[in-house]
Subunit: 189 residues, 2 copies
Amino acid sequence: MKTLKERILKDGKVLDGNILKVDSFINHQVDYKLMDDIGDEIYRRFVDCKVDKVLTIETSGIPAAYSVARKFDVPFVFAKKKLSGNIGDDLFSTEVFSYTKSCLYKVVVSKKYLTQGENILVVDDFLANGQAALGMIDLVEQSGANVVGVAALIEKAFQDGGNILREKGYRLEALASIEKMDVEGIKIK
Amino acid sequence: MKTLKERILKDGKVLDGNILKVDSFINHQVDYKLMDDIGDEIYRRFVDCKVDKVLTIETSGIPAAYSVARKFDVPFVFAKKKLSGNIGDDLFSTEVFSYTKSCLYKVVVSKKYLTQGENILVVDDFLANGQAALGMIDLVEQSGANVVGVAALIEKAFQDGGNILREKGYRLEALASIEKMDVEGIKIK
């Protein structure tokens, strides 16, 4: 997606530890127009699919999930993170390791909002090692719903997530794939 | 706002501890059409004001902030919650006590995204004791920006938040004000 790639090259900042900071337009301050365009583009890429619901994880996937849900005319659900505590019987639950934060957390969705036979499009801002996407896929599959595919705004293509998802047979669409990044610059496929 | 009030009466659930559960349409599964209408209504109520940016706190204020920002054609910012850790020099920071979760947390916004002289509309899903709204107002005022007003989707009018904000002279617009709620039902002004 041209506008997203250009924006990353213009305003993205590379920090130590393989962190790409996009907090001026995606995940702290949000450019609503860009987010509207992101919804349009993800819709275009999955328009051949039946999508009944969009699923993301709080927090920074929420604007994109809203934007995509509007285009498909369906509700969206944001899975919740829990650092600890018991999980009740009314929740689907999985565990996700965050490499960014070096912690294992639980991700939950109410059983009311994922239903057998539904077609679920998974959306997130970043795809790096794939842990968050695999966690969401696990939640969808626990419910008996179908994973239509995974849409990521930004894929760190030098990490394993994309290949893991493709090898498992999931359809993946990344709007901007970062081939390489360091303090000297960012190279996008 | 009629559609929101009707939806709360139809799908809202009252739990022990003054909790109003609206997770089937606002803060877990989200009805994007209702959220679009909420943006229209908040815009209508503040259309006489100059708004340069919309501010909310993660997580459940984000869809409404997006919806409002689109109407005003401005960016939105979501303040981030931190349970602990040092706050760097590049962040505005305040403390908010969550009665729901019985914990004190820090709320931060990068200094890059609140600027002296800007006009900021504060948006959140719930207004109860006003702690989150007061925290956001504190962040805005630390930056030297102006608080245009506070828009809440749902005000628990039997708690103090609304009065505290009005007494301090802030303009408050609540789309649905809950007068009373218990297991027998919900009464909305």
